[in-house]
Amino acid sequence: MDWVPSNVVDALALSHQLGIFTHIATVPPLRVWFGVEDIPITIESVDEGGAIYQGGGRLIGLPTLEVLVNGTADAVEFTMSGIDPATGAALISSIPPVRGADVYVGITTLDDYYQPMSHIIPLWRGTASHTTEASPTVVGQQNRTTTLGLSIASGGETRSRPSRSLWSAAQQKALSPTDRFCDNTSRMARMVQPVWPNY
């Protein structure tokens, strides 16, 4: 069978109803889809039977998905706006441990009677990295909004991995305490011809 079933492909070729689903594997998992109200549906072998995806279409922003599906970015940010600053602060402080959790994004189409035409087809898998919060200043009659974000990386691109700016012995020993690989780098500089050590 194809990864995307042929009936879904056929539906996508015409005007259709698209369901976009996100599963964040925290404990308990967060299941959100981008429509309105709840929908019972599963990702095979990821969700247990009877899982219900909550309708988050009024909260969650969509624009990052295009970047994500086309694979031109290795980290994307899911945002949620329309909450007041106090709620946002409470959410951030009470959020379950999210770093390193698997994140799945999948789609399926809905038929004329709003029923999903297949299981959720997982298109993208990432790893949750860190949360962000922003509440820009507004002027006049504009509504103040808070935007909460969850940065999600694909592959091994987590923000927690330190990068070395200098190949110094101190930095190398911070990562691997017994490694002496960089011990003699201080002797190396431009215009210096080091003598190959003879241990």
Binding site: L18, W33, G35, V36, P40, G57, R58, Y113, Y114
Partner: protein, 240 residues
């Protein structure tokens, strides 16, 4: 916030000039194609209901008080209220005195007497009942009706009182099967899909369908006092 056990907006008392009820959703476009008309991709899965009561004529003291109550309760959009949809004039109700009547009023006690103030009981003229249970987000329901004056044929609003999601309004977009007479067992394809699973025997309400609503986040209802005490106000709701 609470979705059940809510009061209902007194729509008759507010006397709006125009009531608009419309499901809103989100459709994505992929940009303008060569032929100029892009394909539609709805991502909301049925959308959510919005309603607006336009030109509510506020004249009496009590109406001013009531508008003040609505503003006090609903401003900032975090408290809910049941929002009725006035279908009295074109719903499937029998005609009493030449006008379609969703309710029979002034029903006396069994001995023919009324309450001390002259009022009687009232009762909906049309009743419906779900005949087989349907799952969360089902798009097709079966129901049986009594008391209708005409068949369910094009589309009508109705509502169901769910145990946790409260009142939700639906309408049908396709009659899949219908009884031979006016009343009986119908199978209807509904829009939007069911907000909560229903069991057989759940009442389907055709008289004044209603849904749990709140104010949109960009809307507040001001308390207005105008010279000569006549003012008109628009009130907007979205499904909670």
């Amino acid at each position: 916030m609470a979705l059940i056990g809510l009061p209902t907006v007194f729509i008759d008392f507010l006397a709006p000039e125009k009531v608009q009820v419309d499901p809103k959703g989100g459709a994505q476009e992929g940009g303008r194609p060569l032929v100029g008309e892009p394909a539609a991709a709805d991502i909301s899965g049925g959308g959510f209901l919005t309603a607006s009561y336009d030109g509510c004529k506020i004249t009496t003291e009590e109406q001013h008080e009531y508008v003040n109550l609505l503003g006090a309760r609903l401003n900032f959009g975090f408290r809910n209220i049941n929002v009725p949809i006035p279908t009295d004039w074109w719903g499937p109700f029998p005609k009493i005195g030449g006008i379609r009547a969703p309710y029979v009023t002034n029903i006396p006690h069994s001995d023919g007497s009324t309450f001390s103030d002259g009022a009687g009981y009232s009762q909906a003229t049309v009743s419906g009942e779900v005949t087989s249970s349907a799952a969360l987000r089902a798009g097709v329901i079966t129901l049986t009706t009594t008391g209708m004056d005409r068949r369910l044929r094009h589309s009508d609003w109705f509502s169901i009182y769910h145990p946790t999601k409260g009142w939700r309004a639906y309408r049908y977009w396709e009659v899949i099967s219908a009884p031979s007479g006016t009343n009986g067992s119908y199978t209807l394809a509904i829009s939007p899909p069911l907000r909560e699973a229903v069991t057989a025997g759940t009442r389907v309400e055709f008289a004044r369908p209603r849904f749990v609503g709140r104010f949109p986040s960009d809307f507040t209802l001001p308390s207005i006092t105008e010279a000569f005490f006549v003012t008109k106000q628009d009130i907007r709701f979205v499904e909670a």
